[in-house]
């Protein structure tokens, strides 16, 4: 039986969570949901993977000092 049929957070909200753009209260709610929802946890993992690509590539082209300073 599938207990989780709906997800309270849209994919965009999960992305905003990854970006640190949600309020503390909303972030906490997302974290609680992620603990029990593999689908959403996978989405968050995917976002983190995508987010990791561009900065890693860019970072290697002479802007390391810039990124370290942020």
């Amino acid at each position: 039986m599938n207990f989780v049929t709906t997800h309270p957070f849209a994919a965009e909200e999960l992305m905003a969570f990854c970006d640190g753009e949600l309020s503390a209260q909303d972030s906490q709610a997302v974290e609680i949901h992620l603990a029990g929802c593999r689908d959403c946890a996978d989405k968050v993992r995917q976002f983190h993977e995508t987010l990791a690509v561009a900065p890693r590539v860019e970072c290697a082209s002479g802007f390391k000092a810039y990124r370290r300073g942020r």
């Binding site: 965009e12 992305m15 905003a16 690509v53 561009a54 590539v57 860019e58 810039y66």
Partner: protein, 232 residues
């Protein structure tokens, strides 16, 4: 080839700041901090961007130097990802700082300095693209590539450059502002005059598209994707 850091050190050397700013150089750090309640003199480096810009608008060249040090590489990076080559990025970076200097007497803080600076940079970039398009149309010179620049032809950066280039213009701009300039959704919204929700949905769309494009074209050799010394 001259490194980005070396190049930027040549930009607006300290000796030129006074003449370019056209301001009295007499303001010292104590007067720069006169707006603080404590009256204590803070080192320039500890001031916020906004404090520094206000101080510069009142004549502190130290404040401008500090802002220049903070933003020379981010601003150069901003342009370098958006124009065809490094020399153009250098020129545009310098142009942006000159614009900051010229606008300083009229500066009124209505947003974060970072947003203010990137708004200037975007205006300069758009003007540059208009000129490039004009040259291409009427003078027959090659059209400038507006996609993020690449320095060499390694596989990873080509995939990334190609993928980013395929995004819709506004989506690409939002993605770049978020991923590279690391602006918040609110800052991007302010800069591009869009609602925050639009920024969020377009960013989502851009990232989804980017992920799909990268997965379609991923190098077969996975180690290629994680080379540490290659840039976009």
């Amino acid at each position: 080839m001259k490194g980005a850091g070396g190049m930027m050190d040549d930009l607006l050397p300290a000796g030129d700041l006074h003449s370019m700013a056209g301001k009295p150089g007499g303001m010292d750090r104590a007067s720069m901090n006169s707006g603080t309640n404590s009256g204590a003199v803070m080192p320039v480096a500890e001031n916020s961007d906004e404090q520094l810009m206000r101080a510069f608008s009142r004549g502190s060249n130290d404040a401008f130097s500090a802002l220049f040090v903070r933003y020379k590489q981010p601003l150069f990076g901003f342009f370098w990802r958006r124009v065809a080559d490094r020399a153009q990025a250098e020129e545009l970076t310098q142009e942006a700082f000159v614009a900051v200097i010229r606008a300083a007497p009229r500066y009124e803080q209505s947003a974060r300095f970072r947003t203010y600076l990137y708004a200037i940079a975007l205006k300069i970039l758009r003007a540059h693209r208009r000129k490039a398009a004009f040259r291409a149309t009427f003078l027959g010179s090659p059209t400038e590539q507006v996609e993020p620049a690449a320095e060499s032809g390694v596989v990873t950066q080509l995939f990334m450059r190609e993928a980013i280039r395929k995004l819709e213009v506004m989506d690409r701009e939002i993605l770049l502002l978020r991923e590279f300039e690391q602006l918040s959704y609110g800052e991007i919204a302010e800069l591009l005059n869009l609602p925050v929700n639009t920024v969020r949905s377009r960013l989502f769309r851009a990232r989804t598209a980017l992920r799909e494009l990268l997965s379609e074209n991923a190098p077969t050799n996975s180690r290629e994707m994680s080379r540490p010394e290659e840039g976009i």
